[in-house]
């Protein structure tokens, strides 16, 4: 029974952080060998090899690891071991976490009641940000935010809550402040993104709540509901060419959530994110939207560069994450759906300082398979 089974294998050099492996299926069996650990002198807590069967459950693993002696022993990983993913559909979320604090700050600081397990660059949405039935921060419910992790239970988001209509979340008396991770925020990009701030001037600087994934040359349009102020950016009407949309072009990409657009907004109305709590039912959000499908005319090739680099997204800072697609034109629309598995940073139940994915520089070989017969 192997007509329809699928096999894949490969290797990578560990960075000491969880490693995402994209393959054309969702495996039911994974094994890995830390080749570096096999020829180095035995070292306490070094993981030599590990396996995972789907029936174990997500995040588990069985590993061979050196104990303190150091003798090679068998141990289990019960969290952050191997896990599989199928990033094919939008609107999927992780577990709901209780939010205990949201501060009033230029970059609001969030505290969760338990460890959030997020990484910087992950995207979350909030719900129920009411301190009382009429106060709090429900203005930002439902907006996707990129997080910058500051601790096991803390992170910040790119939104200025230090404004008069926002009340800090500290001891919520009504509502149920929660947050959950958006599992696959960038399956399709560039697309539509919410705006957190607009700096007016001879060029216009746009800050977004999560990664815009625009490139220089990207054509963009705006949707600014009237209560947010800068309605002059809206695509229609165009007073110069009646009936024609007004579009801008990205002339600089500062980082994952900031772009500069070639629109002179010096005389436009100031952007206002200080929305009232009372406005929330029915409140629509300001958005910037990618338009056009071929924007930059291709990828600049220079000496030593990859001839046909895959399209990438930028989840945080200026860090580029390649998709499995390619080659592609920069700025063109990308489908980033994917399947595969993750080798995590889980520790052993007994060898509590071991790390499944190894330490930085370790050479890891892996093999994954999907069986055409799985019993029971």
């Amino acid at each position: 029974m192997a007509e329809y089974s699928r096999l894949a294998q490969g290797s990578f050099i560990s960075t000491g952080q969880a490693k995402v492996i994209q393959i054309p299926f969702k495996p039911e069996y994974i094994e890995m060998v830390n080749y570096t650990a096999t020829f180095e002198a035995p070292t306490s807590q070094a993981v030599v090899s590990a396996k995972w069967f789907a029936a174990m459950g997500q995040g588990f693993a069985v590993e061979q690891v050196y104990d303190a002696t150091p003798d090679l022993v068998v141990d289990a990983v019960i969290a952050n071991g191997f896990s599989t993913f199928s990033a094919g559909q939008l609107l999927q979320y992780g577990p709901t976490l209780v939010v205990t604090v949201v501060s009033k700050a230029a970059a609001a600081a969030v505290t969760t009641s338990t460890a959030h397990g997020l990484s910087s660059g992950d995207v979350v949405i909030f719900q129920g940000l009411f301190e009382t039935s009429t106060t709090g921060m429900p203005q930002i419910n439902g907006i996707p935010f990129t997080v910058t992790v500051t601790g096991a239970t803390t992170f910040t988001i790119p939104w200025n809550t230090n404004q008069s209509n926002y009340t800090a979340i500290s001891v919520a008396t009504t509502g149920a402040p929660t947050v959950k991770k958006v599992l696959y925020p960038y399956l399709y990009f560039p697309g539509q993104t919410f705006i957190s701030n607009i700096t007016l001037g001879t060029t216009t600087t746009i800050d977004t709540t999560d990664a815009h994934n625009f490139v220089v040359g990207q054509e963009v349009a705006f949707r600014i509901p009237s209560q947010w102020g800068t309605v002059q950016l809206n695509s229609l009407p165009n007073t110069l060419v009646p009936g024609s949309p007004v579009y801008g072009y990205v002339i600089a990409v500062t980082d994952y959530n900031t772009v500069v657009v070639n629109i002179d907004s010096s005389a436009y109305t100031t952007f206002n994110s200080n929305q009232t709590v009372a406005s929330v039912p029915g409140l629509s959000y300001p958005q910037i939207v990618a338009v056009g499908d071929v924007n930059t005319g291709g990828v600049q090739i220079s000496s030593g560069s990859q001839l046909y680099p895959p399209p990438y997204y930028v989840p945080i800072g200026t860090t580029r994450v390649n998709t499995i697609n390619g080659p592609a034109i920069q700025g063109a629309y990308v489908n980033n759906t994917a399947q595969g598995f993750i080798i995590g940073i889980g520790t052993g139940v007994n060898q509590t300082s071991s790390v499944l994915v190894g330490t930085e520089g370790d050479v890891i070989h892996w093999r994954a398979q999907l069986n055409d017969l799985l019993l029971p």
Binding site: P281, L283, S284
Partner: protein
């Protein structure tokens, strides 16, 4: 058949088209449940943007319980919202498709019409489960209703490679002739051809009707 293609196009539109939150309902969530004013607002937005309507109107006839239908855009919605649409019947501008003066142009999946919008429903309509919360801590699903004009989106079969239904009998599918192969292969791309002619109208359900 063709369901996978539709899901891809659906998710693409959720990612790439701009959003309007419903505010015409009264359930206290953001977005609210749908009110007739939400349909009017979206249709007005598309009209202002010079979007082309899909359907010409249906002239009124001398038949009890029927009414004329305006020229319309299409709205693609989840079947889970049908009870909310039913609750709107009786409001000015709302017609179930059975109440069209002539429903010869009604599509099999068409629920009916509100002002300048004709509503098509599907069980695959995009839904973000438990994505909205009100000030009492209750949660609600958020529905993405795509309202679009004729020039809004297109679907491209790349290099003329349209969908192919592949069938291989057991002798070609394995050495032991135990299994047949039935598959669909397609290479395709989607594009929003006019971004001003498409909006996702987000809404929750009427709490009184929620299951």
């Amino acid at each position: 058949m063709r369901q996978a293609e539709d899901l891809i196009l659906r998710d693409y539109i959720v990612s790439a088209a701009s959003e309007i939150n419903a505010g015409g309902g009264s359930n206290g969530f953001n977005p609210t449940n749908l009110g007739t004013s939400d349909f009017s607002l979206v249709a007005t937005t598309l009209d202002t943007n010079n979007a082309y309507k899909f359907m010409t109107g249906i002239e009124g006839m001398d038949r009890f319980g029927t009414g004329p239908v305006r020229n319309c855009y299409f709205m693609l919605s989840s079947t889970e919202l049908q009870s909310d649409f039913d609750a709107l019947v009786g409001n000015v501008g709302v017609l179930n498709q059975w109440s069209y003066a002539s429903n010869t142009s009604a599509l099999p999946t068409e629920w009916g019409n509100v002002f300048n919008i004709r509503i098509l429903t599907s069980s695959e309509g995009p839904v973000a489960r438990n994505a909205a919360t009100n000030n009492l801590g209750a949660t609600a699903d958020v529905y993405y209703n795509t309202v679009l004009g004729k020039q809004a989106v297109t679907h491209i079969n790349q290099d003329g490679d349209s969908m192919k239904l592949i069938y291989r009998d057991e002798y070609y599918s394995g050495m032991l002739a135990q299994n047949c192969t039935l598959a669909v292969r397609f290479s395709q791309a989607q594009a929003i051809t006019q971004d001003t002619a498409i909006r996702n109208l987000l809404c929750t359900r009427n709490s009184a009707l929620a299951a």
